[in-house]
Amino acid sequence: MSNLVLKYTVDNEDFTRAGEASSDVKKKLKMMGVPPEAVRKVAIAMYEGEINMVIHADGGEITVEITPTQIVMVLKDKGPGITDIEKAMQAGYSTASENIRALGFGAGMGLPNMKKYSDEMDIDTVIGVGTTVTMKVNI
């Protein structure tokens, strides 16, 4: 069986729509009969990533590949890049604006949550060019 690949464009124009891609992936994985624990891990990790793309990077592209053994999410943006990854990985550290905090995000838990819910995570970032986050969840 060939792997299923899903592609999404995340735009930054409307914060209220952030999470639509993650919601769609969750629905599709459920329908495919992927175990609930893996579905939830993918949904949360991708949702945090999607929110990050909207908050920090003017949106971007997400590709989700579903293989028989794992789900691979690649989140690619053309944002400002992450200056200090070590700091960004610390729970509670955030560069988000007050405006974003008022919406319930920017608590400095995005990247830590993404790492927590994925079995493998890799961040490739170049200042001024963009960031690509790859997350894998085993089925």
Partner: protein, 117 residues
């Protein structure tokens, strides 16, 4: 405890999902920070929040939370309720403040669940 018990204890009004009130709830979480909610994993939970935007519904959806209670009498806009209806969630509004709402549920046997470390 069922969702109907939560409604009674919090003196709440149900805004959507009346058909699901006999469902059991096992844990609860009270927060206005959605990233903190996303750090918490437990099935069949209630979310108590003072935050009123569509991301509350999406967060609940990702976490498999089955009931959301807006506190301090807050009522979300119709588009938020529509989103919740579409996801099969129960949404209610309670006049209680966060501390009181959490206290009522805790005192009546709901726990906070576990953090995923």
């Amino acid at each position: 405890m069922t969702i109907a018990d939560v409604k009674r204890l919090l003196n709440a009004e149900i805004l959507c999902g009346k058909e699901y009130v006999s469902k059991d709830v096992h844990t609860a979480c009270g927060s206005d920070l959605m990233s903190d909610v996303l750090a918490f994993v437990k099935d069949q939970s209630v979310l108590l929040t003072g935050l009123c935007n569509p991301q509350v519904i999406r967060t609940a959806e990702m976490m498999d939370i089955i009931c959301i209670c807006f506190i301090r009498g807050k009522k979300p806009e119709e588009n938020i309720i529509e989103l919740a209806k579409d996801r099969g969630l129960v949404v209610m509004t309670s006049p209680l403040r966060m501390f009181e709402a959490c206290g009522e549920l805790y005192a009546n046997g709901l726990s906070g669940g576990e953090l995923l470390e």
